[in-house]
């Protein structure tokens, strides 16, 4: 029994121990400041390599699942079960001609391809991937995520503006409007959780869920739904993929990009989509906590389960229109997030922390809000039902035409 626990502990801490071993190895030869410096670089390197490598399986995962949703196989040519398709795609994208339109603003156009990907990797720095597995535990973790995450907007707008194409500027404008609007409900929905935790640090958010013995999705189901909806819009995924709106503005902001620069946008999009799942896992699903399996396995399991939800939505839902998108953010998500915040603040003050009673009270408060929405909205859903009228018209006798 003891030995099994030992093995589990070893697997759980394998990455932490590795970094420990590496730094102590360096400490034999180098002064302390150099070790710190090198370790920082090593951590960043690991994160970036992880981010890039994860594209390979995220991409194949997404395409396989989408294929199944759409009643087809998905990629199955290259590698076993088509698992290496992403490699083939990368080779293709890298060997494509890199076009800069003659009328484009060259500097901004080329810069814009790099800008969105930087904040994407910066977000990964504060995410606790497992017990003790965090690159840097910032005390303002969530604030940092929000601040850095919104930087991507600038890159996308730069791309839209500098391409000197009307489709891309439409895409760019849509992106800015959408991201600015959806950031507000996204942040507001998490503020409820932060109230319960009393800290912005991502590590303490995870630990607080250990103290409650419940993931915050149970305490704050509405906030989870609000956060996830807003976050999908934030990373421009279907049904909020207006900035690229394939069928309307063709590809939106990256319409003029080709080859590796186009791949950069794709990369940023995939890593972004993964990071919102990872943030949702950390904040609402208890992060790396879970029985038996090593902590990092739990984290990735939960994050990829959420990613599956993203793929599922992409495969099934139609797209919103631009005015409806704004209405949805400002008239539905923001009021709900505010209501949730107020109710949470009130209930959290009244009930004891880290107790079952408190959890039930918070859950009940959330359910009350959800029931209120249904009562207000349901009559409208009901009355809007529409059907065709079937006219049974007897055939007029056949006329003799001249």
């Amino acid at each position: 029994m003891q030995s099994i626990q030992g093995i589990l502990e070893f697997i759980d801490q394998i990455f932490v121990n590795l970094s420990f071993w590496f730094s102590s190895l360096l400490a034999n030869y180098l002064p302390e400041w150099a070790v710190t410096f090198i370790m920082m670089f090593a951590t960043v390197l690991v994160l970036i390599v992880f981010g890039l490598a994860s594209i390979i399986w995220i991409n194949i995962f997404e395409r396989k699942i989408l294929g199944r949703i759409q009643d087809r196989y998905g990629p199955n040519r290259f590698g076993p079960w088509g698992l290496l398709q992403c490699v083939a795609d990368m080779v293709k994208l890298l060997t494509k001609e890199d076009i800069t339109p003659s009328r484009a603003d060259r500097l901004i156009f080329n810069l814009a391809a790099v800008v969105p990907i930087v904040p994407t990797f910066m977000i990964l720095a504060v995410l606790p991937f497992g017990r003790g597995m965090v690159a840097t535990d910032l005390s303002i973790g969530f604030l940092y995520i929000v601040a850095v995450g919104s930087l991507g907007t600038i890159g996308i707008f730069m791309a839209g503006w500098s391409s000197n194409n009307k489709y891309s500027i439409l895409g760019g404008m849509r992106t800015v409007a959408q991201m600015v609007s959806y950031e507000i409900p996204m942040v507001l929905s998490v503020v409820g959780v932060i109230l319960l935790v009393g800290s912005l640090s991502m590590v303490s958010i995870v630990e607080a869920q250990g103290q409650w013995r419940l993931p915050f999705i149970v305490l704050q189901p509405l906030a989870f739904v609000l956060y996830f909806t807003a976050a999908i819009a934030e990373v421009n995924r279907s049904p909020f993929d207006l900035p690229e709106g394939e069928s309307e503005i063709v590809a939106g902001y990256h319409i003029e990009y080709s080859g590796i620069k186009f791949a950069m946008f794709l990369l940023a999009e995939y890593v972004n989509a993964f990071s919102i799942c990872a943030i949702a896992t950390t904040v609402f699903l208890g992060g790396w906590q879970g029985p038996i399996l090593p902590s990092w396995a739990w984290f990735f399991l939960k994050a990829y389960a959420l990613y599956f939800l993203l793929i599922w939505l992409r495969g099934t839902l139609p797209r919103l229109r631009v005015d409806q998108l704004m209405n949805f953010a400002w008239k539905t998500l923001v009021p709900l997030a505010l209501a949730n915040l107020m109710v949470t603040a009130l209930v959290a003050k009244l009930v004891p922390q880290h107790s079952l009673v408190g959890a039930i009270a918070l859950l009940a408060a959330n359910l009350v809000i959800i029931v209120c929405i249904v009562i207000v909205k349901y009559p409208r859903w009901k009355q809007d039902k529409r059907e065709v009228v079937l006219v049974s018209r007897p055939p007029t006798p056949q006329m003799e035409s001249s």
Binding site: I69, E246, P318, Q324, L390, V391, R393
Partner: protein, 368 residues
């Protein structure tokens, strides 16, 4: 706050655009995201169809009509063949008439499936409903392949009948398909019709009032969705449509959502007709004896039929020779397309592609 000076933007959409159903160009005048004006430009697929039709002889024109609306080739052949038969006063055998109805109505189902699939695709469904619809369309074209060897360009109808009798195994497979199709339509409706986003996008978008629709000369599902129960199969029954029992579905508002609902309802009605035709299918000959050189008597004829997209008419003038003197097509897509600017004004860009999808055009037919 001072009032900002704004100006409109001209955006060229197409001819290479994923949602214009071929090579169709739109010159949009935009005020931000709102469409101020639309100017459709057609003609990128013009290939002298009508003039070539005059050079072909009467029989060669039958396969040539397949190229008009390549989504529903059987309907094009049907319209042409009926016009010629009316001109030459040929009466095809009973069995051929029933086979034709089966083919044409199956084709209507296939067309509406594709039309709904594309509409949902343009709404941003990322191909899922499209693939579902195509799977069933595939079964229908499989039946065509079984009968005449070709899936899209069947050349199955001949003047005075059909080119071959139904093959062995057609009837059981067709019956199976017909009994399964309503189930698929139910499934499709269950999955997507009640969807909140679909309803938001489609309801009260691009309303076409019945008077405007008739003024533009719109026909087919577009007109019926506006609430006018005009269907050539009922208003002026041709072939043997007066023997079948079916209803005309009409919409109540005339928006994109109604067009979507009307198409699904029409597909159901078509399945009903096929079902009745399969039940009543008589035995016997499938074609009148064929002449090597077909020469209809002098005269002219206009014959209209209800194609899936609307009223498809052929105006044929014969001078008694092997070739038609004039071969003119009234293409439903082309006429229905005229209502596009009316429906798009004041809507958003995203609605423009949805409206095109809801009109259901095929460029092969628009440009001829």
């Amino acid at each position: 706050m001072t009032k900002l000076k704004t100006e409109t933007v001209t955006l060229n959409m197409g001819p290479h655009h994923p949602s214009t159903h071929g090579v169709f160009r739109l010159i949009l005048t935009l005020d931000g995201e709102t469409v101020v004006d639309v100017e459709p430009v057609v003609g990128y697929l013009h290939r002298n169809h009508e003039k070539i039709g005059e050079k072909n002889n009467w029989i060669q024109n039958t396969p040539f009509t397949d190229r008009l609306d390549y989504i529903s080739p059987m309907n094009n052949e049907f319209a042409y063949v009926l016009a010629v038969e009316k001109l030459a006063e040929i009466d095809p055998p009973e069995r051929a008439k029933y086979i034709r109805i089966i083919m044409v109505e199956l084709n209507r189902v296939a067309n509406h499936l594709i039309s709904i699939g594309f509409l949902l695709n343009e709404l941003g469904c990322f191909f899922t409903p499209m693939f579902y619809a195509l799977r069933w369309r595939e079964m229908i074209v499989d039946l065509y392949e079984m009968t005449c060897g070709s899936r899209m360009m069947p050349n199955y109808f001949w003047i005075g009948g059909v080119s071959a009798d139904l093959p062995e195994g057609f009837l059981p497979e067709c019956k199976e398909l017909v009994s399964a199709l309503p189930g698929f339509l139910d499934e499709m409706e269950q999955l997507i019709t009640e969807n909140e986003i679909l309803q938001m996008r489609c309801k009260n978008v691009a309303i076409l009032p019945p008077e405007v629709a008739t003024a533009f000369g719109c026909t087919g599902p577009l007109l019926r969705a506006s609430g006018v129960p005009y269907d050539v199969r009922r208003a002026e029954p041709y072939s043997i449509y007066d023997r079948f029992d079916f209803d005309i579905p009409i919409g109540t508002v005339g928006d994109v959502y109604d067009r979507y609902l009307v198409r699904i309802a029409e597909a159901r009605q078509s399945v009903r007709i096929v079902d009745q035709a399969l039940r009543d299918l008589p035995e016997g000959e499938t074609a009148t004896p064929k002449k090597r050189k077909f020469k209809p008597p002098e005269g002219d004829i206009y014959h209209r039929t209800e194609a899936p997209k609307g009223e498809l008419g052929f105006y044929l003038v014969s001078d008694g020779t092997e070739n038609p003197y004039r071969y003119r097509i009234r293409a439903p897509s082309f006429v229905n397309l005229q209502a596009l600017p009316y429906m798009c004004r004041g809507n958003k860009i995203a609605d423009v592609v949805v409206v095109i999808g809801s009109i259901d055009i095929t460029m092969g037919e628009v440009d001829r």
